[in-house]
């Protein structure tokens, strides 16, 4: 089990983090490092693409929440792209749908940042 993390610059000062694989207690530190590195470099508007994520647990959610808290301190935000019904369900039952902007595709997530 692993997670592949790709970071790319998009429009303006927005960065997209593409995640592919499973996010759990073993793999989430890799995601945390990638998001933390972007924030450390002063990038506070992020789109995290979960379209290719097959599984996420509470440690993965914790990493996303931690990233959101940090960017909010600088007036930024984190939007998510998520189409997997099982993962959307996890955001629903934990109440995180009220905290994150969750979109069906990257364009919509990007437009909501502007």
């Amino acid at each position: 089990m692993d997670i592949k993390v790709d970071v790319r610059e998009s429009k303006g000062d927005t960065y997209v983090v593409d995640l592919n694989g499973e996010i759990d207690v073993y793999t989430s530190p890799k995601v945390k490092d990638a998001i933390g590195e972007l924030i450390d470099k002063g990038h506070y508007n992020l789109v995290i693409n979960l379209e290719k994520v097959r599984y996420i647990d509470s440690t993965g959610l914790g990493v996303l929440i931690g990233g959101l808290k940090r960017v909010r301190e600088h007036g930024g935000t984190v939007n998510l792209v998520c189409t997997n019904p099982q993962i959307k369900k996890i955001f629903d039952i934990t109440g995180l749908v009220k905290i994150f902007g969750i979109y069906e595709d990257e364009n919509a997530a990007m437009q909501a940042l502007v």
Binding site: D57, I65, I93
Partner: protein, 139 residues
């Protein structure tokens, strides 16, 4: 292949209390759940609940280097026991919280309670922590 209704099966697994082994536990339990007439969504629920329970042991159980997972299948569904051999769970390991604010702690226990039909904890400083959770098969 779904097993015939009423057949009792017991599967035991013991993993090191380390992050890299949690995937083994959740996939093994998913394979057991797949023997019953669960929907794919139910199997995903069980998988996540087991992973959360193991993660909780790794993060909050003091003095335990092993986690034992026991699955019992029966006509009503699946019972999973997750047992660590530590000195009992620290209180933060048993918190359950749904979040309307960005908050990290307690999500794992909240998920377990949300995804399974019944959840019981037995915390004992001498025997460790035993979590028993059940998922019923929809008839």
């Amino acid at each position: 292949m779904p097993q015939s209704q009423g057949t009792l099966g017991v599967v035991e697994l013991r993993i090191p209390s380390k992050a890299e082994w949690v995937a083994v536990a959740r996939l093994a339990v998913a394979a057991v759940a797949n023997r019953l007439n669960f929907s794919i969504e139910d199997i995903e629920d069980v998988k996540l609940a087991v992973a959360e329970a193991c993660t909780n042991c790794i993060q909050h159980a003091e003095g335990s280097d092993q986690i034992q997972i026991t699955c019992e299948t029966g006509p009503e569904g699946l019972t999973v026991r997750v047992h660590d051999f530590g000195r009992g769970m620290r209180p933060e390991g048993l918190q359950s919280i749904r979040t309307d604010e960005p908050h990290v702690g307690g999500l794992g226990v909240f998920l377990i309670r949300s995804l399974m039909d019944s959840v019981e904890y037995d915390v004992n400083p001498e025997r460790g922590t035993n979590l028993v959770m059940t998922k019923k098969v929809a008839h």
